[in-house]
Symmetry: C2
Subunit: 86 residues, 2 copies
């Protein structure tokens, strides 16, 4: 299920998650600790972020470390840049 980057970053929680793991790789529990929502909710957010390539997962034992992969944001900035001519 190929996801849309525009839709992925529309949610403020997902943008926060991206900002958080852009600084350092974190496993899912560590990410979830920082939000007032449940772990399954964070799990689904991260799933959406991986489905559009913004996050990649490195499994280490039972832990899954989330890494930001921000090249996909170019899809957005390129779309914006086409209007920068004006």
């Amino acid at each position: 299920m190929r996801r849309d980057v525009f839709q992925a970053i529309a949610d403020p929680t997902r943008r926060e998650i991206l900002g958080m793991i852009a600084r350092e790789k974190l496993n899912l529990n560590s990410v979830a600790e920082n939000f007032p929502v449940s772990r399954p909710a964070i799990s689904r957010h991260i799933k959406i972020l991986t489905e559009c390539g913004l996050v990649t997962i490195k499994q280490l034992g039972r832990e899954r470390f989330c890494e930001a992969n921000l090249e996909s944001l170019n899809q957005v900035s390129e779309w914006i840049d086409q209007y920068r001519i004006f």
Copy 2:
């Protein structure tokens, strides 16, 4: 009702509308002609775009011309730019 730019551009139809009126001001009917959805649907899309500042309306008689106001996109590009350091 202050709208979120990220959420406004998440919808592909709204992005198309923006691209269309970035080239030239168009009244609502002219915009709607270019899409396979009804006029009321386009009307609501444009309302959302105005609510976050991406579109401004100039009323001329009974027609309302839609003008793209793309400075609000800076909110998005600035958010992306903070990661360009990496």
